[in-house]
């Protein structure tokens, strides 16, 4: 069974802006799915419709086989949402926020208190349970929204840019936690602007732009389409000018590092062989941009036409 099935979903706002132009999407149970797109592409609108916060103009949404129009209660019970914007009652205590959310899903009393403790401990907020949400740091607020979304133990968790604005340490710990709950069986859909995040966490990817899905495939397939990569090489000795290498475009950067563009017909062994022949010693090498980022930019610029 699909965790999420979207058919011909459309949304036109009252100001005439057509945010979604008939998107189709299927997320399989247990998947870790990335939904990417530039700002204003329609990601948050799609998530708003799935979470019943935005009225759709047309199309159908099913969550674990439950139609959102005809079986709304069952569909909603399967879903946990971590929105992009902080939407906590800042005057409420951390413990009460999660406890109340359990209550809204029909979980009360002892069972709710146990769940609150479990998720606040897992997200390292238990010590702050009696503090108001406004006293938390930005990263803690994001973790609290994850705890709140998990308290009813949803089968499908949707996170809309959950790591926006949090430091790298918290981001990494969130990644570990999300991987853990995904391995435990929760299907996860993630939107993010950190493409490194999507590449390292997600097995499937969909790219949405101007209300249309322009790519929907396994992550490995998307990356395989990438035929052009740019590497930055740090050299032991500074060069006066960029060397000419067969099959590669080279450019000397202002900081003395060498930028090398590799096409589909060449490989890194060839590159290192040629550099060795020129007497150039490479100390280290890195991608100029994240691989997925390059692919993403290319797809968005060319509206889905792969290289």
């Amino acid at each position: 069974m699909s965790a999420l099935s979207i058919k011909n979903l459309t949304k036109t706002y009252s100001n005439g802006n057509q945010a979604l132009k008939g998107i189709n999407l299927t997320v399989e149970t247990g998947d870790f799915y990335a939904l990417l797109g530039p700002n204003g592409a329609g990601k948050t609108t799609a998530i708003g419709i799935i979470s019943s916060l935005v009225n759709k103009s047309g199309g159908e949404v099913e969550i674990f086989g439950h139609n959102l129009d005809t079986e709304q209660e069952a569909a909603k019970a399967c879903l946990g949402i971590v929105p992009q914007e902080i939407n906590l009652n800042l005057w409420e205590t951390v413990g009460n926020i999660v406890f109340n959310q359990a209550g809204y899903y029909g979980i009360g009393g002892k069972r709710a208190r146990e769940r609150v403790e479990k998720y606040l401990r897992e997200l390292r907020l238990w010590d702050r349970r009696n503090d108001t949400a406004r006293s938390l740091s930005g990263g803690m607020k994001r973790r609290l929204m994850i705890a709140r979304a998990l308290v009813h133990e949803p089968k499908l968790l949707i996170l809309d840019e959950p790591t926006a604005g949090v430091d790298i340490e918290i981001r990494r710990s969130m990644w570990d936690y999300l991987q853990k709950i995904n391995e435990a069986g929760t299907t996860i859909i993630l939107t993010t602007h950190y493409l490194e995040e999507a590449e390292s966490l997600c097995r499937h990817i969909a790219i949405i732009d101007e209300g249309t899905i322009i790519e929907d495939a396994r992550m490995s397939e998307v990356l395989r389409k990438l035929q052009r990569e740019v590497f930055v090489l740090s050299l032991s000795d500074e060069l006066a000018q960029a060397p000419e290498l067969r099959g590669f475009k080279t450019r000397l950067r202002n900081d003395g590092e060498l930028e090398v563009e590799k096409g589909p017909e060449t490989d890194l062994n060839d590159l290192f062989g040629q550099l060795d022949d020129c007497g150039i010693h490479v100390v280290s090498l890195r991608n100029k941009a994240n691989r997925l980022e390059e692919m993403f930019m290319h797809l968005v610029e060319n509206k889905g036409t792969s290289t």
Partner: protein
């Protein structure tokens, strides 16, 4: 509809509302107590002595039920409008909208919160009134049922106001320009029998007149209007306003894009 789920959800909303009322007691409980104490001192004690008897009761006794009802109405309305609009403004209303509870549960939970605050303040004002005058309850069932129904009506009205409100100014317009004048003209401080016939008839178009008089009948046994009219009007308003709230929630007006 899953009844067990919705029962837990409605209890949760009521608990949340009560926690809010008690957390900000300095804004929710204290001001009406001070205002009503001043009303009793100025209108009841100082001016009331010169007014003398009204409908067979001394003036302090006469205005006490109206002032209790006034505090219940304004607090029931004020609680729902500020709490629901605050949740909408702060976007934590989304916590409830994504959950599987029914829209009726969201409405009932908030209305119950408003009713409880209204009754809490009403009891406090009654205790204050007892320092100034002697109140014997003539018809306890009528008193309790009228105060409950009136409280529900204004809590529902507050819910509708909150749904339409886009900014904080919008939640004070109705209380300032509609609720307060209607309350003052609703027979809290006078009997409409004192008015010329034309103004008596105009006053009968004010629903608050029926609530205040029916409550006064429950407490003192005296009223300007028939109690049957009051029950009819109140029940009609409850049905109408609840249906309005359900319609707004189902259509997502003011709460969903």
């Amino acid at each position: 509809m899953n009844l067990a789920l919705n029962l837990v959800a409605v209890k949760t909303i009521i608990r949340k509302e009560m926690v809010r009322v008690l957390r900000i007691w300095i804004q929710t409980i204290v001001p009406p107590a001070i205002t009503m104490t001043l009303y009793f001192i100025i209108f009841g004690n100082l001016i009331g002595r010169r007014i003398g008897v009204m409908d067979g009761f001394d003036y302090m006794q006469y205005i006490a039920p109206g002032l209790i009802m006034m505090s219940v109405i304004t607090n029931s309305y004020g609680n729902v409008v500020s709490s629901f609009f605050g949740a909408k403004f702060g976007r934590h209303l989304e916590e409830m909208l994504v959950a599987p509870m029914s829209y009726a549960t969201i409405i009932i939970g908030h209305v119950a919160g408003g009713v409880l605050r209204g009754l809490l303040v009403g009891m406090l004002v009654t205790i204050i009134a007892l320092f100034f005058t002697n109140l014997q309850v003539a018809h306890p069932f009528i008193m309790i049922s009228i105060v409950l129904l009136s409280s529900i009506v204004f809590a529902l009205a507050g819910f509708i106001n909150a749904v339409f409100a886009k900014k904080f100014d919008d939640i004070s317009i109705v209380p300032t320009f509609v609720l307060t004048p209607l309350t003052y003209l609703g027979g809290v401080f006078y009997s409409i029998s004192m008015l010329p016939e034309f103004w008596q008839n105009v006053s009968k178009a004010n629903p608050i007149l029926y609530m205040v008089n029916a409550f006064r009948y429950g407490v003192l046994g005296s009223s300007d209007i028939g109690i049957g009219y009051a029950y009819t009007i109140l029940i009609a308003f409850v049905v109408l306003l609840f249906s309005g709230c359900m319609f707004l929630m189902q259509r997502g007006i003011g709460i969903r894009e």
